[in-house]
Amino acid sequence: MRYLNAICACLLGLLISTSVLAETPSEAQKPLLLELTEVKLSKALPVLQQLEASEGADMMALFKTMLNGDLYYEKETKRLIAALKEQSVTRYSDLFTGAALNELSSNQVKKIKVNNTLRGYLGEAIARMQLNHPDSAVRTDAVRSLFSDLGPNTIELIRTARLNEQSRSVQEVMDVALALYRAAHSDDATERLQAVKDLEGSLEPEVRNQLTKLAENDPSRSVRKAAQIGLDKIDQQAEMYGFINQLFFGLSLGSVLLLAAIGLAITFGVMGVINMAHGEMIMLGAYTTYVVQLMLPNMIEYSLWIAVPLAFMVSGLAGILIERLVIRHLHGRPLETLLATFGISLILQQLVRTVFSPLNRQVATPEWMSGSIEINPLLSLTLNRLYIVAFALLVFMILLIVLKKTSLGLNVRAVSQNRDMAKAMGIRTDRVDAMTFGLGSGIAGIAGVALSQLTNVGPNLGQAYIIDSFMVVVFGGVGNLWGTLVAAFTLGVANKFIEPVTGAVLASILVLVFIILFIQKRPKGLFPQKGRAAE
């Protein structure tokens, strides 16, 4: 562990020192850099602009460090310093030479503040510098991030870069930028018309905005018409991608519902036990993730994979304990189990409050789950949601296999169909009960790991999902895993398609009312159990 830590630190150090060429700032830059340490936040922008235009040392390191909020200066010498924070230790190094400054303490240095205006500027300045970056993906991003602010200087830079550009995809993006500029600033109507034609096929929001402007205000009729045609095409595409986006939102909400409900589908659906403490099993799983991250602060990237089996065990054991201590004694009295498990849920919530504090706990999102994949400027899918949809389906498949292909599954099905007959065949029903309840609770724990990435990890986490989970199971049909799957995705998608029309609150109310009415019509849900076991 230590070693890994040290290696990481070394690598990061290396990264910084390589990006910082051991150059010294020129004479022209020095007073500007000094000014940077003294200037008020609101007056810092011109200083930075002068620095960008100045000759001499590469300002990339300065801008990047500043953008990350890691730029400090030594109070005495006013020399600029980069800070590298890892956990509770902060290391300082000279910004330009990269030399480590281990003797500095935190009260000898002062932070150079940044605000959003500066961050915005720094981002663009870095993009301008990156137009000749060796990586073509970086170049593409650089050009795209310049779209929103295409001044003559920037356009000049892009134009020069375009001449030497080899990559086809980067060329395309650069052409869009140039066309955008021409469409906005050219005095010649034919040139604008050509620019509008060049912009065809691009879905960038800036393109759409520019076309809107042209379609409304351009003096030339043909330009207005061409812009309108382009606009209509984009809107058509936007509508389709909007639909796909909404579908994705619905599926993602559905997968959350599925994860939350699937454990309940086992305890409630197969065993017939109303487990009001089900939400707290989810909560235990989420807290397990928190504890894992607390114990292994250097392994955030892997923490979820460690947490999944652990959460299964923690919640599973808790479930078995509850079954052995309480539910066993209430066999065949479903309404009483409801009350007893509600009591257990209160105790568990308060326990978590006492042990972990009532405040929400921090669960970090690993790097590989942050951000989104952009399919095109109109459609991007967030990674965490994508992973959770996949994860929910995976858990569902595994559960299905466990129930269909293993001896435990066989026993579980036998007991749920006819307890007395199973007993007569030599199945130890009490043990199967405990295992089933443990399995259902364990799955809820796994759901908790996934939910810790989407919502707050706090004592009320379970409460937020319990009613929804019951709705999903009842709607899908008790005792039918496929029903739960269909119900979860149906409710998720329905909710997300109603939401834009009615707002979030009314959407959830409407879904609830719909379920209430549906159950009156079909009391056994979408896929009722058939045969004698159903009675």
Partner: protein, 428 residues
């Protein structure tokens, strides 16, 4: 025979306890603390209870007040709104406290208010709120909308050049009123209706996908866009996470929040929040001698070096200071005398400068806007030139623009209509 003995025994002990209570009452000045210690609001309110206890302890070390020691009476309304009324009555009649520090949510204050007015109690309310209220029996030391929301919008409009506005809030009174005020304010400033998007979500909302995607497309129309967030508590983190995941950074679309402070940020993964804004009257990061002293005292009192301070704590601090000054000025803890003595009191802000209690029972305070940093602190990026006087009745709502509050003679009214020259709805 036996029963007679029993009854007289009970009567004796009860009488004794009554006696001892009245004897105690003569010796100490009682300070009631009405903050939820359990339930959903416990997270926020427990801190304020500890703040009051710290202030009481400190005052007692200085020799108490009017030569008497202060005694804190703590009750737990358990985040249950009707219980706030019940516990207020308990504090005022059973414990006979001289002053109450308490409440967080608007509904808890509304619940306690009729009891305070009936029994002529005195309460200090330390949280930012929607305004539209001024009671003789309450002093409001948190921010009114014009001390938080309007300066924040001014900052976004003038300094960041924001042209399009998303007003996102949790569906309850504070966001509703604040957004009503902001909408009217923005329209008065010439913002077109299609450049304002208003959205409400339920408490604890966690699925922000559609709303964030709406905000994203609303902000992609070429004009600088900002979100003014009155989203409450728990719903915030999923909201900011979703913003981060959908690739919206603070430089693109900044979010300015009125309910996100140091306490809410402590122990959270602040990575997705860096650069977003918050508007308050106090930040822990502000450097002043008073603040440094307050923070170290707080850390010592709680025995936890990681504890943070926040705006409602400062409001409690100012309220407590002013109350002790007013009691000293009046020479008594009698509610009517203290109420009159409170008006015009001045005390030091923790961020430097003085806070001033106005005739409408609201404070004049500076307004600060801070950017969230990666360590969970907020760095001041803008502040008002001078003090801003809290406005009980908003000038931007049709129902209240003619109302003023003035608790000095000759008006002596919390909602005086300047047009009809009447004092409406006061029955005391």
């Amino acid at each position: 025979m036996k029963i007679k003995h029993l009854v007289s025994g009970i009567a004796l002990t009860m009488g004794a306890s009554v006696l001892s209570i009245s004897a105690m009452a003569a010796d100490t000045i009682k300070v009631g603390v009405l903050h939820s210690l359990s339930g959903t609001m416990a997270i926020s309110e427990t801190t304020l209870k500890d703040t009051v206890l710290m202030m009481v302890e400190e005052q007692n070390k200085k020799g108490g007040l009017l030569g008497k020691q202060l005694e804190a009476v703590v009750v737990d309304p358990a985040s249950n709104w009707p219980l706030f009324a019940e516990k207020t009555r308990e504090l005022l009649t059973k414990d006979q406290v001289d002053v109450i520090f308490g409440c967080w949510t608007s509904v808890s204050r509304k619940s306690a208010l009729p009891v305070l007015e009936e029994l002529n109690g005195l309460m200090f309310y330390p949280v930012q709120y929607e305004g539209e209220e001024s009671s003789k029996n309450v002093f409001y030391t948190g921010a009114a909308p014009n001390q938080q929301a309007i300066p924040a919008v001014d900052y976004l409009m003038n300094d960041l050049g924001v042209k399009r506005w998303v007003l996102a809030g949790t569906d309850y009174v504070y966001p509703r009123t604040t957004n009503k005020i902001l909408e009217a304010y923005l329209k008065a400033k010439g913002v077109a209706a299609e450049d304002i998007m208003i959205n409400y979500t339920p408490f604890g909302h966690s699925d922000w996908q559609s709303i964030v995607s709406d905000i994203k497309s609303f902000g992609a129309e070429g004009k600088k866009t900002a979100v003014v967030s009155t989203i409450n508590g728990d719903a915030n983190i999923p909201f900011y996470k979703e913003l981060g995941n959908q690739g919206i950074s603070a430089e693109d679309i900044p979010v300015v929040a009125f309910s996100v402070g140091e306490e809410e940020l402590s122990g959270l993964d602040t990575k997705p929040l860096v650069g977003h804004l918050a508007a308050w009257n106090y930040f822990q990061s502000v450097e002043s001698d008073a603040n440094t002293a307050f923070i170290s005292k707080w850390k010592a009192f709680t025995g936890n070096p990681d504890r943070v301070t926040n705006d409602p704590m400062e409001a409690t601090y100012i309220g407590f200071k002013m109350w002790t000054q007013a009691v000293e000025k009046a020479g008594t803890t009698d509610v009517n005398a203290v109420e009159q003595a409170m008006i015009g009191q001045e005390t030091e802000n923790l961020t430097g400068g003085m806070a001033y209690m106005n005739k409408n029972h609201h404070l004049s305070k500076p307004v600060l806007i801070g950017e969230i940093q990666d360590d969970g602190q907020l760095e001041v990026v803008w502040e008002t030139e001078g003090l801003v006087a809290g406005d009980a009745w908003s000038d931007f709502l049709p129902g209240s623009k003619d109302l003023i509050s003035d608790w000095t003679a000759p008006i002596s009214c919390g909602n005086y209509n300047t047009v009809t020259k009447t004092c409406s709805g006061q029955n005391y």
